[in-house]
């Protein structure tokens, strides 16, 4: 019997797990994918929002501003990349100025600090590539950018270090309510727990509706297409440049990433399919057209990859956090769309606090509050790096040329707790394959290292778990059976 089972190992579930791991108890995270950070958390804008956007008085606004204030310290504690680069919301016409001022007012009411409206001159000094037609901007110095993969992985690893269990490749199929406990049915067997935390992203409404009659939730997967540009374009903008929602629609953002690329996106396309992370030609065309509104001469031809993520858009555009009225012991974290990444630490803390109160959980004496990320030789001095290679020569072997990732880092990513099991798992942890050649050169090498470290044949290695095998056989293995020319 578990005390708490968290469903979903995205950033929300991992944040709940991490904050909950301060307390004594038997806790488990169930995840249907093969790794943490496989849904919305891996495909988003990677922005730590300042908090001016969410409507004043909403839970979303509260969580956003609180989360924004928590992230800098959390990034230090858990060693994930974060930069407070500041955000600009660019206003493209005088007639939209009232809306820009309204956004400013909303932000001030939400408690966002140091907000300012800057005029065109100052805006262009700050960001020379912003469109010449821009008339003003809202300047939010507390906006930031983060590595969403390593933020989620860091939360999970720290939770794991504090005793939270994780089970991957396990899909929840239903619930049975007992007296004072829940049975969670999955494709990997049943699990008993006193409390359930529903952090299932775009599936959170499905799970909620399995246990509640009183209030049904409805979540729409809202697809966002993105383009990621080559690091050569780094510095095209240094702040996160949003477009003020105006007569030209909601607009898309252009932002640096913590790794030095430029990200452009997202579109907002409501779809039916909760796994519909496919980009479409129309979506990408729309994105490229919109991206050119707020900045001039965007080097979109330097795109190295495009992808799509799904926001869990709840009908009322509000976070649903708390115990379900007619399902005691079932805690929702539903409708966590943007600014969900920013809000995750606040949501995690809130839910952990709620459970502590309800369950009377006691603090651990030996809680480990910090976590060390993968050792990145690029952050070392020459002497330190030299010493590291002497000690462990694998750090002298570059595997991913584009991102200059060494074999040492890849081995670390695989061997560490909750380590990588797939090509994408290695990629999210080390950036191997995330560069301009998009794994063309390094994927056979990474497959080899994964097979060696996991003690399996290369035929078993997948891109992202499940049926995503990378090779299907050996040369000539079907000759004699299939004879086609």
């Amino acid at each position: 019997m578990y005390d708490v089972i968290i469903i979903g190992a995205g950033v929300t579930g991992c944040a709940v797990a991490r904050y909950l791991s301060r307390y004594q108890g038997k806790m488990l995270v169930l995840e249907r994918a093969e790794d943490v950070c496989c849904g919305t958390s891996k495909a988003n804008s990677a922005i730590i929002h300042a908090g001016f956007d969410a409507a004043h008085g909403s839970l979303m606004a509260e969580m956003n501003v609180r989360g924004n204030r928590m992230v800098p310290q959390l990034a230090r504690d858990l060693d994930f990349p974060f930069q407070m680069n500041g955000s600009l919301v660019v206003c493209m016409s005088e007639e939209d100025m009232p809306r820009l001022r309204a956004l400013y007012e909303n932000g001030v009411k939400n408690g966002v600090e140091r907000l300012e409206i800057v005029d065109s001159k100052r805006l262009h000094e700050m960001e020379p590539n912003v469109s010449k037609n821009a008339v003003a901007a809202l300047w939010a110095p507390t906006g930031g950018i983060v590595c969403p993969f390593n933020m989620t992985i860091a939360l999970a690893e720290n939770a794991y270090a504090n005793g939270v269990e994780f089970r991957f490749n396990t899909k929840v199929t239903g619930f049975t309510r007992g007296s004072g406990c829940w049975t969670i049915h999955t494709d990997g067997g049943d699990f008993q727990t006193r409390y359930v935390v529903n952090a299932a992203g775009v599936y959170a409404d499905v799970l909620h509706n399995m246990v509640s009659e009183e209030r049904k939730l409805h979540i729409t997967p809202r697809r966002g297409d993105y383009c990621l540009l080559d690091k050569q374009t780094g510095g095209f903008v240094s702040h996160t440049v949003f477009q003020l929602p105006g007569k030209l629609g909601k607009g898309v953002l252009v932002s640096p990433t913590v790794h030095g690329n430029i990200i452009v996106g997202p579109t907002a396309i409501d779809i039916e399919d909760r796994d519909g992370t496919n980009t479409t030609a129309a979506g990408l065309d729309d994105l490229i057209a919109k991206a050119g509104i707020s900045v001039d001469n965007l080097p979109i031809r330097q795109t190295i990859t495009s992808f799509a993520g799904l926001r869990a858009h709840e009908d009322h555009h509000e976070f649903v956090i708390g115990e379900v009225g007619d399902a005691p012991g079932f805690i929702d974290c539903a409708g966590i769309e943007s600014p969900g990444l920013t809000s995750a630490p606040a949501i995690g803390e809130t839910v952990a606090e709620l459970l502590r109160e309800k369950m009377g959980l006691a603090e651990k004496e030996n809680f480990i509050a910090t976590r060390k990320g993968l050792l990145d030789p690029k952050t070392l001095s020459r002497e330190e790096y030299q010493a590291l290679i002497r000690e462990n020569p694998a750090y002298g072997q570059i595997i991913c040329r584009c991102e200059q990732v060494t074999e040492g880092e890849i081995i670390d990513a695989i061997r560490r707790p909750l380590g990588a099991r797939s090509l994408d798992g290695v990629k999210r942890r080390t950036r191997a394959g995330m560069g301009r050649c998009q794994a063309g050169f390094c994927s056979p090498r990474v497959m080899e290292i994964l097979a060696r470290e996991l003690g399996v044949s290369q035929a078993e290695i997948t891109k992202c778990g499940g049926a995503s095998r990378l090779i299907v056989g050996v040369n000539k293995d079907s000759i004699g059976e299939v004879r086609e020319g």
Binding site: T277, N278, T305, S443, R469, N475
Partner: protein
């Protein structure tokens, strides 16, 4: 460490440059190679068709590489394998790393850039759809099949008719896979005609020109690919979609010179070739920094890579003897009627000591042409070309005698004209 010549890359260009520099008298040469063997990408090009020009016989890639590697070994030229160059400074200090030496710094008097190229990725093509396993660049598939012996898929659609894609269509077929179609965005093939004959036609693999991939299906592994015809604007035409059930999509949509190191050290890069802008010595804007092979401009044929790189090797050796030569007499090579660029981009006749080869590609398919090379207003080369295509590199030989006959030369011009 100090070397007179450091060569970045031990593929066909690096090897040929090293041999030629050695034979021109240089005894202090270091080749830095990131892979675990010399020969570069040739090691995975196990098909035949290499070396006809250089050796008068048809060799496979590994055999061609082995001949050059042997010449390097016979001369005792130094090389380091599994060594990645991290950066090169403008004053030619090279920082590299490997397992055994750790971080190393090499001071070179001359540097020859020979890093080769990479393939355009799915992302760079912005192909819509899911992102499952089973999407490979043709070169990645080539490595898996030819070096590791692994089949990346059984039912294959290929986008792009570049040579590696065509070669892989045949390779996958011979290893037991079924190649359903090769789709090419352009109205002409990007590969050599002979590869269409011996890699597609021999196996009845259809080539669909003016077609592109409009959707990739499959969440974990590719389950299907949809292609459609494109109009003159290269946009898909609704209603022309054809669906293929397949488990693999190979991409052969162009090669991009790998010039991140060159850019980092301040080498000027041509927006047309994505390679350095070089003069008649294959020297970049930085004196003593030379470039050759696919890092300079993507070639069709390794024999010409070797030839070009040998010229760079000789030029680097000459640089060691003579130092930087004034570029005051440089004449930009101009062109009209088809070429998109020339290598070299400029020529200083006073510095020319050998016959020069001028290489270029045209921007579209053209029939019945004549290529003329003018020195001032005199035609010094005139060649009939029944067909010219972007997939096939053109070359013209400019002899030193012809240059010597024009002491006050003002214009070097290439015109592609109706024959």
């Amino acid at each position: 460490m100090k070397y007179e010549i450091a060569i970045i890359g031990g593929g066909p260009a690096g090897l040929a440059a090293a041999i030629a520099a050695y034979d021109a008298g240089c005894r202090s040469i270091l080749i830095l190679e990131r892979d675990n063997q010399l020969g570069g990408i040739l090691n995975q090009c196990i098909h035949n068709g290499f070396g006809l020009h250089t050796f008068g016989e048809e060799l496979t890639g590994p055999e061609y590489a082995a001949r050059f590697a042997k010449q390097v070994l016979d001369r005792g030229i130094e090389y380091k394998l599994n060594t990645m160059v991290l950066s090169i400074s403008e004053d030619k200090k090279i920082t590299a790393v490997n397992r055994t030496d750790g971080l190393i710094e090499i001071e070179a008097t001359a540097v020859i850039l020979a890093m080769g190229c990479r393939e355009r990725s799915r992302g760079a093509l912005n192909i819509p759809g899911f992102r499952p396993a089973g999407i490979y660049s043709a070169g990645t598939a080539q490595r898996l099949v030819n070096i590791e012996g692994f089949l990346p898929g059984r039912r294959v659609v290929i986008l792009g008719s570049g040579d590696i894609g065509l070669i892989m269509a045949r390779r996958m077929t011979l290893e037991g896979a079924k190649v359903l179609v090769v789709a090419e965005l352009m109205p002409y093939s990007g590969g050599l005609k002979r590869n269409i004959v011996q890699c597609l036609n021999d196996f009845d693999i259809p080539l669909k020109l003016s077609h592109t991939v409009v959707d990739i299906q499959g969440r974990e592994r590719v389950t299907g690919v949809t292609i459609a015809e494109v109009g003159p604007d290269r946009k898909p035409i609704p209603g022309t979609e054809i669906h293929y059930d397949c488990d693999t999509l190979l991409l052969s949509c162009g090669l991009l010179p790998e010039n991140e190191l060159s850019r980092g050290m301040g080498v000027t890069i041509s927006p047309v070739t994505n390679g350095p802008v070089v003069d008649e010595s294959l020297q970049t804007n930085i004196p003593g920094v030379f470039a050759a092979g696919n890092v300079l401009h993507v070639h069709d044929l390794v024999d010409f890579v070797s030839e070009e790189a040998a010229a760079a090797g000789r030029a680097a050796a000459r640089y060691l003897e003579q130092g930087a030569q004034s570029g005051a007499g440089e004449i930009n090579v101009t062109f009209e009627g088809g070429p998109r660029y020339t290598v070299p981009a400029s020529i200083d006749p006073k510095r020319v000591s050998d016959d020069l080869v001028i290489r270029f590609r045209v921007g579209g398919v053209m029939k019945n042409r004549r290529v003329r090379l003018y020195l001032d207003d005199e035609v010094v080369v005139s060649r009939k070309r029944p067909v010219m295509a972007p997939g096939e590199m053109e070359e013209l030989k400019l002899t030193k005698e012809a240059l010597a006959a024009h002491p006050d030369l003002k214009r070097i011009h290439i015109a592609v004209e109706e024959a």
